[in-house]
Symmetry: C2
Subunit: 348 residues, 2 copies
């Protein structure tokens, strides 16, 4: 269930959903930024459940998305003798959702999970599809599982206090879903960029719902990424490499937007995509105020090395998703990605 | 695929199975006891693969079945830049299979796993059905996943060097499968106890195959233990409590055998089971030389508290599986377990 609400109403619907699970304990997993803002309010709204509701906080930031944080959270739950009939609510952005999702998937071999994303990026990305992970010193998201939440609640009022840069990170994922899956949605985003940036709530509700539905469609078809789901990685092979090489000074959104441009340009050079479409994509990012030149300054070789660590890589050779036009990807007989030829990396 | 062989032939069949997975790296995960004995031989037999084969060893023993050990193994794999196209071979007893299974299930969100159990218990239990876990200071097997292996290879020659007590641990699981699922197999075990204890290879091959098939049947029906799979916990609610209270001085086999007797006696007192059947079960354990009085000396209250931490517990009240006769369990409308009434704990 995805429920899109405008107005942070943690009330009856969320409570009803958890009530059905009949848990002995509820743990709200959140971080040190979101927790103080929304944790107590969410906890109060769950008093109707008649079971203990605990708030577990960890320090905010990607640097705390680690195995150590997961272990700390596990110990907190074990200390309270939480068993398999426990429910975890993930309240926060992508980092919280990833850590809480991994935690839920392995606690007593899996307990029910409810996602309450508080950023536009998390609403479009981490809250849908069940992929979770933690980072290691060797790379991002290398340890984790695929574990679907019982429900996701998107409350658009969270976005009112979100910094503009954070909002843009979310719009990048939305634009990506449009590029790979839906030309009409791409056109909607072209027309409504300004309204969305100004948080026009009715347009935003439509866009979030549409973007989530598009992702859900892919995830339902191929939950464990054996083929089709790889298309959701469009822009991310190069994007992750940019993040890694910049030591995460470049935001996820800018890195992926730049990755989308590099990978779309690769599709043009390989003859799959009309150059005009690449220009349309660049223009759409531009109308959202999103910079797409984040890979400037990195050498081909450096980025390529990072791309080899990408989880889609085969025999240490990176693979990328290829778009043919807006809303269409090349299937490559069901592989939905193809090897990235190092000799063709001219524009990096 | 389960392949039962007599004679430790790691050769063509195992190699062919891994070859199909086309991995970039193979990691043999094993412990400091089994590794030196069989690790190099297994590694040599995989030279045909044409990819690097690494042996990863950790110190033997349940005390090393921890989150720290899993993290150590992950770091070893990450250091070698192993990606999603990696294959993990678990070579060892239950501890190794559990750690390696959990490792495989979360490395790059899941890589292929091959089980090579080297103990009779592991052949009957950990190698089938995909449950894995590590221990925490708060209890056993509380963190893990359910993740099915690609294949399991049981080589009976491993058993030649196994201490008698270890063998008995395996026979307990076999007997449990017979009690809950198959009266004919129970009769086979009654007739052939002595031959099996003497490692009569043809009878042992039949018994291992049958026991694995019985478990597989249950696991295929209910992989994630939403109902039927709970019957595999028969004897384990009380058994795990005995292990915990004895601080693991009582072996897993003796603890579970004692748990089976306590839980079967509970079924008798509740009117589900004929007293004569309880005597038959006691006699079968006895003919295998398996002691079933391991709970003597513990108080009801102590054991009950430990039972409340069992993963089947609901609202901190333990539940047990109830047998009606040999080969039949009570379904309780699909729950396949029922609350253990503390007032009925007379015999503990």
């Amino acid at each position: 269930m995805i429920s899109i609400e405008s107005g942070i109403v943690f009330g009856p619907e969320l409570c009803g959903c958890i009530h059905k699970l009949n848990p002995s304990h509820v743990f709200i997993v959140t971080d040190s930024v979101v927790g103080p803002l929304y944790g107590p309010k969410l906890k109060n709204s769950l008093s109707c459940l008649g079971c203990p509701v605990h708030i577990l906080e960890f320090p905010a930031g990607d640097v705390h998305k680690t195995r150590a944080t997961k272990e700390y959270l596990e110990d907190q739950m074990l200390q309270k003798s939480a068993g398999r009939d426990t429910c975890i609510i993930a309240l926060g952005g992508g980092v919280v959702l990833d850590v809480a999702g991994y935690l839920a998937s392995t606690y007593c071999r899996g307990v029910p999970l409810i996602m309450v994303p508080t950023s536009l990026l998390a609403m479009n990305d981490a809250s849908i599809g069940g992929k979770n992970a933690v980072n290691t010193p060797y790379g991002k998201n290398l340890i984790g599982t695929t574990y679907l939440p019982q429900a996701t609640f998107c409350d658009l009022d969270f976005l009112e206090t979100l910094p503009l840069e954070e909002l843009k990170n979310g719009f990048v994922e939305m634009i990506k879903h449009a590029i790979i899956l839906d030309a009409d949605f791409f056109a909607f985003l072209q027309t409504n960029a300004k309204a969305l940036l100004n948080l026009d709530m009715s347009k935003l509700a439509y866009a979030v719902q549409k973007s989530c539905e598009l992702k859900m469609l892919v995830v339902r078809t191929d939950t464990y990424e054996e083929g089709l789901r790889r298309i959701l990685n469009f822009g991310h092979t190069v994007g992750h490499a940019i993040e890694l090489k910049s030591e995460y000074r470049v935001s996820h959104g800018r890195a992926v937007a730049s990755g989308i441009i590099v990978e779309a340009a690769y599709a043009v050079r390989k003859g799959y995509l009309q150059p005009m479409v690449l220009e349309q994509i660049k223009a759409l990012f531009s109308s959202f105020g999103i910079e797409t030149m984040a890979c400037d300054g990195f050498s081909e070789k450096d980025l390529y090395e990072c791309m080899c660590m990408d989880k889609k890589a085969l025999k240490h050779r990176p693979r990328v998703v290829i778009i043919k036009e807006i809303g269409q990807v090349e299937s490559f007989d069901g592989a939905f990605c193809t090897e990235y030829d190092v000799l063709e990396m001219g524009i990096l």
